[in-house]
Structures are given as C-alpha cells and as structure tokens.
Symmetry: C2
Subunit: 207 residues, 2 copies
C-alpha cells in the first residue's frame, strides 16, 4: 500500500472505502467528489458506502479529520521543540517539504475546503491541539536582541517560511506554464526547493 493507514489496519472493506474516499476528496473537494467514483475506486457498491459511513457528509468528515490529525502533529513537533533557531528552520523546511512532496494534494485540499466550508472544517480542526507558536516567537526575539539576526516580526517570518514551502507545490501547474517548464523540469525544480528555501530564509535573516 504505502498510502496512509489512519484507523483500521488491513484491507477491510471499511479501510478500502476510506482510502478511496481520501483519494477522491483530496483531489476533487467535497463538491466535486461523487459517491459513485469513490465506490468504483474502492471496488465495491455505492450502497456499501452508506452501510459503513452513514452519509457523504460523514465520510467527508472522517477523511478531513484524519488529514488534519496527521498534518498538525508534524507541525507542532517542529515548531514547539526547543532546538536553536537556525536548526529549527532547517528542520522545519526539510520535514515540511518532505511531507508535501509525498502528499501533493493535501495542502490545496485544506486551503480550498477551509475557504468554501469554513464551519465544516473548523469542526474537524478544533478537537486537535494546535501548534503553539510562542516558543518560536520568543526564540526569534532573543536572536534579534542578541544581534544574531536582523529585526523581523516573528509572525511574518513564520508566514514567509510556510509560504515558501507550500506555495510552489500548490501552484505547480501555474508556475510550470509561467516558467515554460516541462513536467520533468518542474519535478527537478521542486526537488531543489528544500535547499533553496532554507538558503533564502537564512540569507534574509543575516544581521
């Protein structure tokens, strides 16, 4: 398999449905996803979807919650750890771009759905414990006070880093057309991002 096993291990019908739904929902969103397609990809009948998950809404919620449940802890771990700032930035970029490369549809899914159905999504997020950026903020301020990096608002710094990591993947088709790259060139280009983003950020922070 090599995808994700969030709840039930094994190839139970329920698991096959979950995997198929995960694929279809992340690629087409709530509105674009069709129960028929999910059933087809799971290799079972439409009626079974309703047997295991009562409704499309319920199935969607299960998938959305699982996705958030994987994305947030990864974020928290890096943001809240107590390692030195430069090391933290290197670690964050590396882990984050790794995750995104292996799950190219997830960021766009989260962003789109949060915009189109905010309440539905907020409900899936709030049971989760959010990353607390305070540790990171304090680190940045300490480095500035010590003169080891130039002054910058920590909120902007974190948004800059996240933007540089996520956007090129989300906007891939757009960027590809704009820069006139082939699919292969684009793939190689994105592989360079890990190095490029770390470099770009650390260069900007020089005092």
């Amino acid at each position: 398999m090599g995808k994700k096993e969030s709840q039930q291990p094994g190839d139970s019908t329920e698991q096959k449905i979950f995997d198929a739904a995960h694929e279809v929902f992340t690629q087409k969103g709530m509105d674009g996803a069709k129960m028929q397609e999910i059933a087809d990809r799971a290799g079972i009948n439409k009626a079974l979807l309703h047997y295991y998950y009562r409704s499309k809404e319920k199935l969607y919620e299960t998938v959305a919650r699982a996705i958030i449940g994987k994305a947030l802890p990864a974020l928290r771990q890096v943001i809240e750890s107590e390692v030195p700032l430069e090391e933290k930035i290197r670690g964050f970029v590396e882990t984050y771009i790794d995750i995104i490369s292996r799950n190219t549809f997830i960021p766009l899914f989260i962003i789109s759905e949060i915009n189109k159905h905010p309440d539905r999504f907020i409900d899936s997020v709030f049971p989760q414990e959010l990353p607390k950026p305070e540790v990171f903020f304090r680190q940045v301020e300490a480095e500035i006070a010590a003169g080891r990096i130039r002054p910058i608002k920590p909120q902007h710094l974190i948004v800059n880093i996240v933007s540089l990591c996520i956007f090129p993947f989300v906007g891939k088709p757009m960027m590809r057309i704009l820069l006139g790259m082939s699919m292969g060139e684009m793939r190689m280009f994105l592989e360079e991002r890990k190095f490029e983003v770390t470099n770009f950020v650390l260069a900007s922070l020089r005092p």
Copy 2:
C-alpha cells in the same frame, strides 16, 4: 461564442449575469456554483442564463477567460519591463499585492480550477500571451555577475517572490487559526505584507 467579450460598464442583463457568475464561480468553483444562485444574484430568471450563455460550461469559460485575461497583462507589464532589478521587485510586489487584496478569491480560484480541470483551464490560458521571464532572468544574472546580489537561480527567485505575495492571502484562514489572530488582526497583518515581502527578498539578496 459570437458574444461581445467587452464588459462595458452599464448594466445590461448580459453584464449583470456576467458579474453574478464571476462572483459565484470565483467563490465556489465550477462544481460548487449553482445556476440558480447566479440567477438570483443577477436578479433575473434561470432561463435567461441559458438565453445569453448557452450552458453552465460556456458561462464558466467566459468568466475564466476574462479572469486570466486580466491577471496575465498585469504580470507581463512588471516582469518584462526594463527597469533596474531592485525597482522591478518593489514594483512587482506592490502591484501584485494590491491586485490580490482587491480580489482575494481570484488566486485560489485559478489554483483550484487549474488543478481540478487542467484541460478546461489550459484552453482559456493559451489564447493569451504569456509573460516572458527571460528579461528578468538576464537582469538577475547580470546583477550576480556584477556582485551586487548574492548568487541565486532566477527561477527560484521569481517563485519565491510570487509565493510570498500570494500564499498569505490564499492561506489566510489557515494562518489565522495557526497564529491565533482575530479577523481584524489578520487584516492588519496582511496590510503589512507589501513592506514585509519587499524587505525580506531584498535582505536575502544582499551579497
């Protein structure tokens, strides 16, 4: 087609429909948009939509083409102009963030739709003349050779700048939750981006 493409001011029925469709399509995407809602917002009847634009598909295409038709020239003008690099970067960030602030739904619309229906979208893009990044690339290489900025691949530089401009707006709700900001705080934060992005990029380019 055979319809006038010009969206003259003045509120002909055709124009009212176009405006309503623009609003609904950009906020809900092709799949989420309903002809009924477009008719309601235009203050007319559903049947009239089909009188002016033969189908939902056709209406969507008209809107999508108009959006691309506005976004690309703005890009081209900045990218292809022959002003010095630093000035160009300042100009690009300023213009671009200005446009995005006034049309917060457009970037996400383009990104989402290009991912969900690539062929449909490519068809809308290719009649347009794409910005040619070569002028920009040459400028960057010249500055590097002259030792006025540190070495960096021009492609990465342009992707970095675009990412820093667009992503915070597209990912606004996500960032807001993560940083624990109120709507008001977020609005103020985004207003600071014009200054912040220019600063961040130019700082990173120092030799």
